[in-house]
């Protein structure tokens, strides 16, 4: 079975994906924009609405399923990928999405996110990264920067932060991307590609928490300055950025550097050209390490490769085993092993 669009797939509008529940995020939260983009995008995927399941953990982002008119499961802290795994293995016909946050996925749920990605189970993880614990009112998170002052780090956090994309690529997720809450069209395109991908999807969505961590991603979301601070990853194209598109990323051996196009012999052709489909994750990992203060933040699809999914492998094994093994029913199995018959006439 498949979640691919079919000729008879109904056409939806965003409203078809909105539940009757009142959205209870703080006014101004970046989650509203993400919710709206997801609803709009899902409506256009051609997948029957009843095939979508959204599973979440705990945290602000994890309230997401309640607001989507799909099947949904608001589970426990950090474990959403594990629920999603059990569901997807048993129901490969469903389009299974996980909505999680930086604390949920990378702190309490670090183990599960790691293993779901390395298994390449066909679930789509959307990680809303706001670098803060919001629902517990503002403690530093595993993505908070060193020195971050919060209620629980009044002298500044001494934790070295996790780079979510680096983790995903190290675990060899087969689809890894970054977008942001306010990147409507960009995010929608990433989600569309994610929906089509077969395998473990990891999308980091930079998200503003206007209450506890306002402006944390301002450098890449502020319309006035963002072009100088981000670089768009486009398959087959050179890494060019800047308001005037006059700068680029070039590799000097294994070391990336920012160059001005046309200066000191740096030509467009010399720039690093993005290839999302390289099976080797090394280059994608290198890109994941780029960011402030010395580099622009890469946005877009880091990696999109094809590989057999965990769920497909499980069902392939089952069908292969059926073909190659004797056809044993329950009675046959009950009679296996060390068995003996005791007759009506017993002899000693």
């Amino acid at each position: 079975m498949s979640t691919e669009s079919t000729a008879t797939a109904p056409t939806y509008t965003k409203k078809d994906f909105s539940s009757d529940q009142t959205v209870r995020w703080c006014p101004g939260c970046g989650d509203y924009a993400i919710l709206s983009t997801v609803q709009k995008t899902f409506a256009g995927l051609g997948i029957p609405r009843e095939k979508f399941v959204i599973i979440s953990g705990i945290g602000c982002s994890s309230r997401f399923p309640y607001y989507m008119n799909t099947y949904g499961f608001h589970s426990i802290h950090g474990r959403a990928p594990a629920f999603a795994t059990g569901l997807k293995v048993t129901r490969p016909d469903l389009s299974v999405w996980v909505v999680t946050g930086d604390g949920d996925a990378l702190s309490i749920g670090g183990n599960h996110i790691l293993h779901s990605m390395r298994r390449n189970i066909d679930i789509k993880v959307l990680l809303f990264n706001n670098r803060i614990y919001g629902l517990t009112k503002g403690q530093y998170s595993p993505t908070s920067e060193v020195g971050k002052k919060t209620k629980t780090s009044p002298y500044g956090s001494v934790d070295r932060p996790i780079e979510p994309i680096s983790i995903a690529i190290a675990a060899e997720a087969t689809f890894v991307a970054r977008s942001a809450d306010v990147y409507g069209a960009h995010l929608s395109e990433v989600l569309r590609r994610a929906a089509q991908h077969r395998g473990s999807v990891f999308v980091e969505i930079l998200q503003n928490c206007n209450i506890f961590n306002d402006g944390t991603f301002d450098s890449v979301t502020n319309r006035g300055t963002r072009e100088d601070n981000k670089v768009d990853l486009e398959h087959g194209k050179p890494l060019v950025f800047g308001q005037d598109r006059d700068r680029g990323i070039r590799l000097d051996g294994l070391t990336p550097e920012v160059v001005r196009i046309g200066e000191h012999g740096a030509e467009l052709g010399d720039l690093l050209h993005h290839d999302e489909s390289t099976p080797d994750p090394s280059l994608a990992y290198l890109l994941s390490k780029l960011g402030p203060p010395d580099f622009p933040t890469p946005m877009g699809i880091f990696r999109a490769i094809e590989a057999e999914t965990y769920d497909a492998a499980v069902h392939r094994q089952i069908s292969e085993a059926r073909e190659t093994s004797a056809d044993k029913d329950l009675d046959d199995l009950l009679r296996e092993g060390s068995v003996w018959e005791i007759g009506e006439e017993k002899t000693n």
């Binding site: 594990a82 059926r322 009950l334």
Partner: protein, 617 residues
């Protein structure tokens, strides 16, 4: 020629033998072979593999001793026996560990080659136990098993180290002669098992036959014995262990329910074999998931249940501790889930390979919040099959998690099991909701209070569930105080109503009398045998053994009230005892044991006799 050679074997009703040796000596294999042969002869039997947590502790040391006890009988028996008639001790450490477990007069076959100076000191002996009077009062049969084995394998092309490993078959050959067992079943097994290595086949066959011939020709034994077949009902029997039976029961339940089986598990002793057994059932479409940890294992099972499969997780006590929060989620979202706990000695890592019944209160209450689940316990290895089916039936009928309690004794022990026919097993009706009109996720069946089970993918029934408190019927998130209390009571009532759907407690013995012995789970055999013995002694003793621990059978209060005294015997410090006292205000007497070992019949009988003497307050 010995007398034994010319005399007919002496008949015995029941025999208990115990093989003990180093972890690498093949004692489990030896015991299993003796069991299989005895099964073919029609004996009733019960086995007790007793082995260390370490895979290969240092050779010749006490922690490395691995044992296998077996009772086989011409009668129906219920335990692996209190008192071994024969102990086979492969080295000094095995003797040291086993001696406290065997009675005076026991025949002890000692491998004298395992008593060199080094072996003695590793076992902690300062004097030679074969020479210093330690074994006075036992019938000691010294056999240089290793030397003899190497002697008959002089022609073998195998290296000496390999040849030495055949000594367990030499010992088995001796035991086969002593109890008049045929060699053929084990010979066939050796030929199949080692067919890739003909030299090993030859060595093991030679050692087995040589051991048999040695026992026959030597004058070591005063007599040879035979144990006739037991009066089993005609039919097909299988030697089955608890873990195998439990795994088969889960699969049988999925066949009878007509929906797929999914097991999420993380390896943990003594439950790992359930995962291994079900992983073999790929051709039958069973899906197993070896998760990254215990929490992922249960969460994946809940995810599978949400998708319309039978979701199961199998573990032991430490794993259940980790799964608590997720079980609570399944309770509040009212999804079916089976949690198998093969109990072992605790707390913490405790005694991984030893049995205990100390997780009953964990099963009852080991979660945050008011969090009732159904609890079912298996009483024997073969019964694990039926309790697995019962656990699935309750889970699917009532949309609830069910904890199935097995234990290390049942998991690895085995017994003859009358093989059932699939068609005779209970059917488990499953009705997925597809009707859109009038649907709400927490509408309840008026009788069972179960909510509808909806498979995602069903058009028009899109809905959300979760761990936040939610409104009855609609399932919408609700922090309303009165709704919370209402839902708490509804979940409790749903579990309580299962009592209308399970058999009444039926004492073995009489409906009333001086003493009722109450137990649950894997102690059934010892309690039943002790009850039989007490009644033979003229005591007014009856026995009730609980399969359903939550809810308890509806009539249990009346049953308890019909006896002058109630004795609760369990392998813990009094957990069922606490439940019965709290629920029925009955002044019980408790008998517990925390030694990582099953009850002996003798100690239960002694507890019964003692309890009958205690004056009532």
């Amino acid at each position: 020629m010995s007398d034994a050679d010319t005399m007919a074997p002496e008949r015995k009703d029941s025999v208990v033998i115990r093989f003990a040796g180093d972890s690498g000596d093949g004692m489990q294999l030896t015991g299993t072979q003796f069991t299989a042969t005895s099964a073919l002869l029609g004996n009733d039997f019960a086995t007790f593999p007793d082995f260390p947590a370490e895979i290969r502790a240092p050779a010749d040391t006490v922690p490395g001793v691995s044992s296998y006890q077996l009772q086989f009988s011409s009668n129906n028996i219920f335990t692996s026996g209190d008192d071994p008639d024969v102990l086979v001790a492969m080295n000094a450490a095995a003797l040291k560990v086993s001696l406290p477990l065997v009675p005076l007069g026991c025949t002890i076959i000692v491998n004298t080659d395992g008593f060199a100076a080094g072996s003695l000191s590793k076992a902690g002996y300062t004097e030679h136990p074969l020479e210093d009077g330690t074994l006075d009062g036992y019938r000691v049969v010294p056999v240089p098993l290793t030397t003899n084995t190497l002697k008959v394998l002089e022609e073998s092309p195998l290296p000496v180290r390999e040849r030495r490993r055949s000594k367990n078959f030499y010992a088995l050959g001796i035991m086969y002669w002593l109890y008049s067992r045929p060699l053929a079943p084990t010979e066939e097994w050796i030929e199949t098992k080692f067919k890739k290595n003909p030299d090993i086949v030859d060595a093991n066959l030679t050692a087995l036959k040589a051991g048999y011939a040695y026992a026959l020709a030597s004058e070591l034994f005063q007599s040879q014995y035979e144990v006739p077949a037991a009066p089993h009902e005609p039919g097909l029997y299988r030697n089955i262990s608890g873990n195998t039976a439990l795994a088969l029961g889960l699969y049988a339940a999925s066949v009878r329910a007509g929906i797929p089986l999914f097991l999420g598990a993380y390896p943990i002793t003594p439950s790992s074999d359930i995962l291994a057994e079900l992983a073999r059932l790929k051709p039958q479409g069973v899906m197993t998931f070896q998760a990254e940890d215990e929490i992922a294992a249960v969460c994946a099972a809940i995810g599978a249940a949400f998708g319309g499969s039978i979701g199961v997780t199998a573990t032991s006590g430490p794993g259940v501790a980790l799964k608590g929060e997720a079980i609570g989620l399944a309770v509040t979202t009212e999804l079916p889930l089976i949690i198998v706990n093969v109990q072992r000695g605790g707390p913490s890592t405790g005694l991984p390979t030893k049995t205990e019944q100390s997780d009953l209160l964990q099963a009852m209450w080991g979660r945050n919040g008011e969090c009732p689940v159904a609890v079912v316990a298996s009483r024997s290895p073969g019964d694990c099959f039926y309790t697995a089916i019962e656990a699935v039936r309750i889970a699917l009928t009532y949309m609830t998690p069910v904890i199935l309690l097995s234990d290390g004794y049942l998991a690895n022990g085995s017994e003859p099991w009358p093989v059932p026919r699939a068609d005779d097993l209970p059917e488990i009706p499953v009705q997925f909701r597809t009707e859109v009109d009038g649907f709400a996720p927490f509408l309840r069946d008026p009788k069972t209070l179960a909510r509808p089970w909806v498979r995602p993918g069903t058009p028009g029934l899109e809905h959300r569930i979760g761990g936040l408190a939610h409104e009855d019927v609609s399932g919408n998130v609700s922090y309303d105080s009165m709704n919370h209390e209402k839902m708490t009571i509804l979940r409790e009532e749903k579990i309580a109503r299962i009592a209308d759907d399970i058999p009444a407690a039926q004492p073995f013995g009489d409906e009333s009398g001086d003493l009722l012995l109450v137990g649950w789970g894997g102690t059934y055999g010892a309690l039943h045998a002790a009850t039989l013995a007490a009644r033979d002694n003229g005591l007014s003793v009856s026995h009730v053994h609980l399969r359903h621990l939550n809810p308890l059978p509806a009539n249990l209060g009346e049953v308890l009230g019909a006896f002058k005294r109630v004795l609760v015997a369990e392998l813990n410090r009094g957990q069922l005892d606490l439940l019965l006292r709290a629920r029925y205000l009955v002044d019980t007497v408790k008998f517990g044991k925390m030694q990582g070992q099953p009850f002996s019949v003798r100690e239960v009988l002694a507890a019964v006799e003692q309890a009958m003497e205690v004056p009532r307050p």
